[in-house]
């Protein structure tokens, strides 16, 4: 089924057709926000959120390129997206476990304080 037709039949109207570059722009914005969050936040949870954002930007890119390339490579795009989402879930679980330990040791989740590994 055509994606534009589906949107139209659902009652949405568009002034300009949504192209690949729109997706890429959105993904770039998402990625930048995630990166900024990683770099600027002190809170470990915030950094985790930033990482999730960047991952999702990547997922968005995968889907967008798959969609606009006309399904080249079979279901590779959605497959990659699903793998990434599962990976992100696992990563979040591990990261939260690390943060718990961090919290036990430093009574905060401020990453600036955990600088014991300085060479």
């Amino acid at each position: 089924m055509n994606f534009e037709r589906m949107i139209t039949e659902l009652g949405f109207t568009t002034t300009a057709p949504v192209g690949l570059h729109s997706y890429l722009v959105v993904a770039a914005i998402l990625f930048s926000m995630g990166l900024a969050s990683c770099l600027l936040r002190k809170n470990a949870i915030g950094i985790l959120i930033g990482i999730e954002l960047m991952l999702n930007a990547a997922v968005l890119n995968f889907m967008a390129f798959w969609r606009f390339s006309g399904g080249v490579g079979g279901g590779a795009g959605p497959m990659a997206a699903i793998v990434l989402m599962v990976m992100a879930a696992g990563e979040a679980a591990i990261a939260l476990a690390i943060f718990l330990n961090l919290f036990y040791n430093f009574t905060s989740v401020d990453v600036e304080q955990a600088s014991n590994l300085e060479g």
Binding site: L39, V111, G119
Partner: protein
């Protein structure tokens, strides 16, 4: 023929003779401290068995017509087609005589030692050495080739060394042992050279081969002389001929039975045996050398014996003198008389030594005849035996020594009579008769007659027990009757004693050995035994008998005048005054012609000086070189060590470590521990990767 041994073959007898002391030696040397009495009974029994078998061989040998009873050889070491070494046994008349002499005297010496050495600290060792000696001596006479003879020859030298040094705690005994060993070794070098020459030229050392080769090949001429002189040089060492006689008087440090067995009767006679056995290989010049050396030794040693005061030393010089007689007789071709004298001498000289041993034993190991005197009444058995043996040695008419000495003198005089010149030989033989009579009677008078010089010694002297007197009695009976009566054998003729008749067979058999490969006549034209001029021989015998008897009586008379003390303790003439009249001569004789000093100066001192020089050379030059080398090595090592320390350790190993440390220190700056920095770092890396991948590649 002895009844029990009739069934045994000659080979069996020969093996028994040799093996019996050998087995006893093997047993005792391993375990003499475990058997009762250190096994002296075993040694004596073994010797007795040997003696009985030897007697059987002796009797059989002279009953049969065949001179060579057994000549068995086997190839021992075949080296090439031309050269081979073989071993084997030869039993002929000469061997048979030697076997009896060796085993009988050895048996008696063993028996005598039981008493003489009963409280010795090395009693077992003594018997082992004595057995080793007897075994080697039997091997020496049984061998049918020069190689086995030489091996046994060295073994008797070894046993002689061991026995002379029996009381090695005494410095003089150990010195005497070394002196005897080295002096005889000097002779053995000559003998070995002779053997090498013969082996090189002939390719075999078997007597039969050697004699055949000597007889046949003319191109051996010079080598034959060399070999003959070499062998004779060995005989000179063993039989103590001038100038190698110096060891024998010193060898009297050995226990007296050893002196009787080894240094009077058997081992020193081995040189005479060798010369007799090898007589066919000596050419005329060599024989002349042999005769002159024997004659000179006979007179020379007799003159020294005149002034000696040690009872054993007198006998030792007498032995040297008598061996000179035998050698001289061989030199003029008197094979028969030489072996005859060897046999009789073995008995009476062993008897004299054992009697001297009994005297020394009775006198609590005092050996100086100046301290004896008047012992006749205290030790009558010993004195009688001593007297009988002395008379035999002097050549008193009717005693065994008379016949044998007469035979030698007759041979020498006959050699002169046939016009050869060389009157020195006859002169020496006759002078020695006089000297022998003189010094033996001097010793006898001083020891047994006159007033006791040492009361303590005199009052304690008594005859020893039967183990010591029995050998004396047996030997003195032999000294009187052995060959003296001459009725033992059917070939008895009035002019010659019976034993001498038997020995004539031995001489002809020596000829047979030599001539076994050739029909031509014997080559020793100067040999008295081979001469056909019977009239001259009989003349020589008459002359010899008259002269030697007269001179012997003269010697006895002079000794009586000088040394017989009457009841007041005075002598007719004073020997002291004669000595004072000729002080130089007296000192010369007492110091044995200064030969020991001369040898000491010539050989010992020069060897010491040479050794000193060598030591200096060693210390300075060789050690210097070694030290220099060591120093160079140390320097090189220091260099290598410095190189190792500076270059390898400091720059390479430690340098690497330092640079790694430095790099690590630098790199640790990247490790800030701030998670954001890591983020930035990884982002920058990704960016750089992208730039590289998309825009550069």
């Amino acid at each position: 023929m002895l009844p029990l041994l009739e069934s045994m073959t000659v080979l069996q007898l020969a093996i028994t003779i040799f093996a019996s002391p050998l087995i006893a030696f093997a047993i005792l040397s391993l375990s003499h401290h475990k058997v009762p009495r250190h096994g002296d009974w075993l040694a004596i029994t073994a010797l007795f068995v040997s003696f009985i078998c030897s007697a059987e061989i002796f009797l059989r040998s002279f009953a049969s017509d065949n001179p060579v009873m057994l000549n068995l050889s086997y190839s021992w070491l075949p080296l090439s087609a031309k050269h081979s070494l073989s071993g084997g046994i030869l039993i002929d008349h000469l061997t048979a005589i030697m076997l009896v002499v060796v085993t009988l005297v050895s048996f008696l010496a063993h028996l005598f030692s039981v008493g003489y050495l009963h409280d010795d600290i090395r009693y077992g060792r003594y018997y082992c050495s004595l057995l080793l000696f007897t075994t080697s001596m039997l091997g020496l006479v049984l061998a049918n080739n020069l190689l086995y003879l030489f091996i046994s020859w060295e073994l008797v030298g070894l046993s002689s060394y061991l026995l002379i040094g029996h009381w090695y705690e005494k410095k003089s005994a150990s010195n005497a042992a070394i002196k005897a060993f080295i002096t005889t070794r000097v002779g053995d070098v000559g003998m070995f050279l002779g053997l090498l020459v013969l082996y090189d030229q002939i390719g075999s050392l078997q007597y039969a081969d050697v004699f055949a080769a000597v007889h046949f090949s003319a191109d051996l001429a010079t080598w034959q002389t060399v070999a003959g002189l070499g062998l004779f040089f060995g005989a000179m060492g063993k039989s103590a001929q001038f100038p190698l006689h110096v060891w024998l008087p010193d060898a009297m440090e050995a226990p007296t039975p050893v002196s009787a067995l080894i240094h009077a009767a058997t081992m020193v006679a081995a040189g005479v045996y060798l010369c007799a056995r090898m007589l066919p290989i000596f050419d005329a010049q060599t024989l002349l050398v042999i005769a002159y050396i024997g004659a000179f030794t006979a007179v020379f040693a007799a003159t020294i014996a005149i002034v000696q005061v040690d009872i054993k030393k007198v006998l030792a010089y007498s032995t040297v003198s008598q061996l000179g007689y035998m050698i001289m007789a061989l030199g003029v071709g008197g094979y028969t008389s030489s072996i005859f004298h060897l046999t009789t001498h073995a008995f009476f000289k062993a008897g004299l030594f054992l009697s001297a041993g009994a005297v020394i034993y009775a006198a609590h190991h005092e050996q100086s005849i100046l301290k004896f005197g008047g012992l006749y009444k205290k030790i009558p058995i010993t004195a009688t035996c001593y007297l009988l043996c002395t008379l035999a040695l002097i050549g008193f008419p009717g005693f065994s020594g008379f016949w044998s000495k007469d035979a030698i003198i007759a041979d020498v005089l006959h050699y002169n009579l046939v016009g050869s010149g060389h009157y020195f030989l006859g002169f020496a033989a006759l002078v020695t008769v006089f000297l022998t009579a003189f010094y033996m009677c001097r010793q006898y008078f001083l020891t047994f007659f006159g007033q006791p010089k040492d009361e303590h010694l005199h009052s304690h002297a008594k005859d020893p027990n039967w183990t010591m007197t029995l050998p004396l009695i047996i030997l003195s009976v032999l000294a009187v009757f052995f060959a003296g009566g001459g009725h033992w054998f059917p070939e008895y003729a009035p002019k010659k004693s019976g034993f001498e008749q038997v020995l004539q067979m031995t001489a002809s058999e020596a000829n047979t050995l030599e001539l076994s490969h050739t029909p031509t006549a014997g080559k020793h034209q100067n040999s008295a035994a081979h001469s056909s001029e019977h009239g001259q021989i009989i003349d020589a015998h008459k002359l010899a008998m008259m002269l030697s008897t007269g001179l012997a009586f003269l010697g006895i008379l002079v000794a009586y005048l000088f040394y017989y003390q009457n009841s007041k303790g005075q002598t007719r003439f004073s020997a002291q005054k004669v000595a004072e009249r000729f002080p130089f001569l007296y000192r010369l004789l007492v110091n044995k012609y200064y030969l020991d000093e001369l040898y000491h100066f010539l050989f010992v001192r020069s060897l010491h000086a040479c050794a000193q020089e060598c030591q200096e050379f060693d210390r300075k030059v060789i050690d210097g070189f070694v030290n220099l080398w060591a120093k160079l090595t140390m320097m090189a090592t220091a260099l290598v060590e410095a190189c190792d320390r500076i270059v390898v350790d400091y720059y390479l190993v430690l340098g690497l470590a330092r640079s790694v440390t430095r790099a690590g220190n630098r790199a640790s700056a990247l490790q800030t521990g701030k998670i954001k920095a890591y983020f930035v770092f990884s982002m920058c890396s990704v960016l750089a990767l992208i730039i590289v991948l998309f825009f550069i590649v």
